[in-house]
């Protein structure tokens, strides 16, 4: 089958690589550097599996800047362009999706369009009505940054937002592209599929917040948080995963999705949804207080990325903590090998790890690493289990 993929961010690229193992895929982006990278067999994003597949030369994948080349003759167009959500105004900028849809319909009106971008709940139904076009489906992605292709090859589930034969065909296309044998497939109505993503991510935010609050309470009362969490997690109803305390939940999805979901509740009575959003802020405040209590002269910030193996700084919890420490007049030095500049958020970047270790009297790290082990006594972290 001929498939077009619009957008070469981590969602688009991982889908393009996934599907080009079996289908003829043309990917399109507006950034020449990304297009050139893909055509040169290189990954424009940090993702070990994407890099390996692109380098292998076994994919039927081409990238282009030209919509006619991309969309002509494509049976399916996967739309994975960026949509920005403004958490303050609750406004969603979906213009990139609509631009793709207009272009596709002009070039290839027979194509079935599958939106993988994050969209507001109710978007697909409203858009179909507004455009008078039913050939638009939504299928949520459940990818983790840095592991986008891995998660596409081994999906937890495949959800397609239409209970129909063509919905089934799209689900089957993704299922057949996966390496895992048994992948649960769920066809839902369009708005339900959009809501699944938000409710799944907000549940994960709840889980992170729960263990972070447990940790805040343990810090305040002198309880051994590790003992409490390990014992609690041995209960199979709780489970021993996603339970490692941190400075707060962050990354691209959890803060944005939980805020968006809260805004969507609007007049629907709730308490937990607001608590999940406010709780993250409270956690960061508790962390700032705990750092200030140590009366540091100069604080070293070890990495801004949320997780090991990611190059994404977006909304990392530590950025908020930096801003609050700065407001409290704390001097800071940042160690972030993934950043080329001389300073970050107005604070000097130190490249020499040894010097970084000696010139700071307190080092804050969302996650503990082997590098930091020799500096043990200076390190402030709430990473109890040494894992993401």
């Amino acid at each position: 089958m001929k498939i077009a993929v619009a957008g070469l961010g981590y969602v688009g690229l991982s889908n393009a690589v996934l599907l080009s193992r079996q289908h003829s895929v043309t990917a399109i982006d507006i950034t020449p550097a990304r297009v050139d990278a893909v055509n040169a067999g290189q990954s424009p994003i940090v993702d070990a599996d994407c890099s390996a597949y692109l380098a292998s030369g076994t994919l039927d994948l081409r990238a282009t800047l030209d919509p006619v080349e991309a969309y002509s003759g494509a049976e399916v167009v996967i739309i994975a362009t960026p949509t920005n959500y403004d958490a303050e105004t609750h406004a969603f900028d979906t213009s990139s999706i609509e631009a793709v849809i207009d272009t596709v319909r002009a070039i290839n009106p027979a194509a079935l369009m599958v939106i993988k971008s994050t969209v507001p709940v109710g978007y697909t139904v409203a858009l179909r009505k507004r455009l008078g076009c039913d050939d638009i489906l939504f299928s949520p992605e459940f990818l983790r940054e840095g592991r986008a292709l891995h998660d596409n090859l081994h999906p937890s589930r495949i959800v397609v937002g239409e209970v129909s034969a063509r919905g089934d065909r799209i689900a089957e296309m993704f299922r057949a592209a996966a390496l895992s044998g048994e992948v649960p497939v769920l066809l839902t109505d369009p708005t339900e599929a959009e809501a699944i993503k938000l409710f799944a991510n907000t549940y994960l935010a709840l889980r992170v917040s729960f263990f972070n609050e447990l940790d805040t309470i343990a810090m305040a009362t002198g309880l051994d948080a590790r003992e409490v969490i390990e014992t609690l997690s041995a209960d199979p109803r709780v489970g021993a995963h996603y339970n490692n305390p941190s400075f707060g939940y962050g990354g691209y999805c959890l803060p944005k999705d939980s805020k968006q979901l809260l805004a969507n509740f609007a007049l629907v009575p709730q308490a937990l949804m607001a608590a999940i959003v406010e709780g993250n802020d409270a956690r960061k405040q508790a962390m700032v207080q705990a750092i200030l209590d140590q009366r540091p002269r100069r604080v070293g910030v070890y990495r801004l990325v949320m997780k090991q193996g990611s190059d994404n700084f977006r909304e990392s919890a530590v950025q908020d903590i930096i801003a609050r420490l700065a407001a409290a007049g704390i001097q800071m030095v940042i160690y972030e090998p993934a950043w080329d500049g001389a300073d970050l958020m107005g604070h000097p970047v130190e490249r020499d790890f040894v010097r970084f270790g000696t010139e700071c009297d307190l080092i804050i790290a969302n996650r503990m690493t082997d590098d930091l082990a020799p500096l043990g006594g200076k390190v402030f972290t709430r990473d109890l289990f040494g894992q993401n």
Binding site: V121, G122, P140, F142, S156, R157, V159, L186, T188, D189, T191, E192, A193, A195, I196, F199, A200, Y203, L204, L206, S209, F210, E213, L214, T216, I217, A220, T221, G222, L223, D224, E227, V228, E230, T231, L232, A234, D235, P236, R237, V238, N264, F265, L267, V268, P269, Q270, A271, L272, M273, A274, A275, I276, E278, G279, A282, R283, Q285, A286, Q289
Partner: protein, 373 residues
């Protein structure tokens, strides 16, 4: 070993039955009806496994109203007393537990006392300070109501709030109650053990509240809640179980633990734990509005069995009554005629879970049971 158990509730009885296979157990409490029932082999548990278990194993379980007699010769004392919880002050009343511990210590000063009730965090430390000579320990139970016996016989883990040699002894005793000694034993600090108990209840409360709020959203936006929950729970990090919407988390234990954490730590930088009780309130506000939209004048409240504990169904009934609705209660143990009468006189029937008794009037049943399991 001779074991005395002070208490006649379902934790005490589950402990007694499971330990009674290998030990000589005496349970003691002031309820003479219950004491008589236990001595006649009628154990006050609703567990489905009870009859088979009692038929299969010869047990040494005796009950008495005389605590002094129960303690005589005991080598280990287990105490599980209901801890009344005042919803207004959000405090546990531990006075009765205090008294029982003090009495046990006075009568048998050398004998270890193991608290099984879900005491507030810090309780064991406070009681140890008050009775410095006492051998006082806390071993949390993780028994589900209605499955207490099974959970004692096949525990997921054995937790004792003592990291030393006494912790090992108590863990060994609890392991001897299990049918297979395969559960991992975890010896942790006393405060940590107390905290685990409450956090474990709070986790479940948060989960129930979350799926209830999802359901509130779905009801308000005309979405198929089950599709959304299915899609969410296919994420293995979220998983199935405890995801069927209801009127609010209830029973005795979840609200108590969430309320305790709120009271004890409400001043800290935390938002989720202190808000769990409010989540129940929000849920009830939505359900009240949704029931009122149905325009029913006489609303039936169906319960499968009599229940003394207040729960979300009670609260919902009261809220509707305040709005001028006539509430007609019914307990499923009533006669067929009474049930038929109940069905015909109510415009709408509220039930926590769908039941075969109500399928013939499914159109006028209001419940949020999406999975019917």
């Amino acid at each position: 070993m001779r074991i005395a158990i002070i208490g006649l509730g379902y934790v005490a009885i589950s402990d007694a039955l499971a330990l009674g296979r290998a030990h000589e157990v005496t349970v003691a409490g002031p309820l003479s009806d219950r004491v008589r029932a236990v001595n006649e082999g009628r154990y006050p548990l609703r567990d489905p496994e009870l009859a088979d278990y009692v038929a299969r194993w010869p047990l040494s379980v005796r009950a008495t109203t005389d605590v002094v007699q129960a303690l005589d010769g005991a080598e280990m004392i287990l105490v599980s007393t209901p801890l009344p919880h005042c919803p207004e002050t959000r405090r546990f009343h531990t006075e009765e537990l205090d008294t029982r511990i003090a009495l046990a210590h006075a009568l048998r000063p050398q004998v270890p006392i193991v608290i099984r009730s879900a005491v507030p965090i810090g309780y064991t430390a406070r009681m140890r300070a008050r009775l410095p000579e006492a051998l006082l320990f806390y071993a949390p139970e993780f028994l589900r109501e209605g499955h207490g016996l099974r959970d004692m016989l096949a525990p997921a883990q054995i937790v004792v709030g003592d990291r030393g040699i006494m912790g090992e002894r108590i863990a060994a005793l609890l392991a001897s109650a299990a049918l297979n000694d395969t559960a991992p034993r975890r010896l942790i600090g006393p405060g940590e053990a107390e905290a685990v108990k409450h956090f474990s209840q709070a986790y479940l409360a948060a989960r129930v509240a979350y799926f209830n709020e999802l359901d509130s959203y779905a009801m308000s936006h005309d979405l198929n809640a089950r599709q959304v929950i299915d899609g969410v729970c296919l994420d293995p990090r979220i998983g199935g179980g405890s995801n069927n919407p209801c009127f609010g988390f209830g029973g005795q234990r979840l609200p108590r633990s969430t309320s305790h954490l709120t009271e004890a730590f409400g001043a800290l930088n935390a938002r989720v734990l202190p808000r769990l009780a409010e989540a129940n309130e929000a849920r009830l506000a939505l359900l009240t509005a949704k029931v009122m939209e149905r325009g029913a004048l006489r609303v039936g409240v169906y319960r499968p069995t009599e229940s003394a504990a207040r729960d979300a169904l009670h609260e919902l009934g009261e809220r509707l009554a305040r709005e001028g609705t006539t509430i007609v209660p019914f307990v499923g143990t009533g006669t067929a005629d009474a049930l038929a009468q109940f069905k015909s006189e109510c415009d709408l029937v509220l039930t926590h879970r769908m039941t075969s008794a109500l399928t013939d009037i499914a159109g006028k049943v209001f419940c949020r049971d999406l999975y019917m399991n």
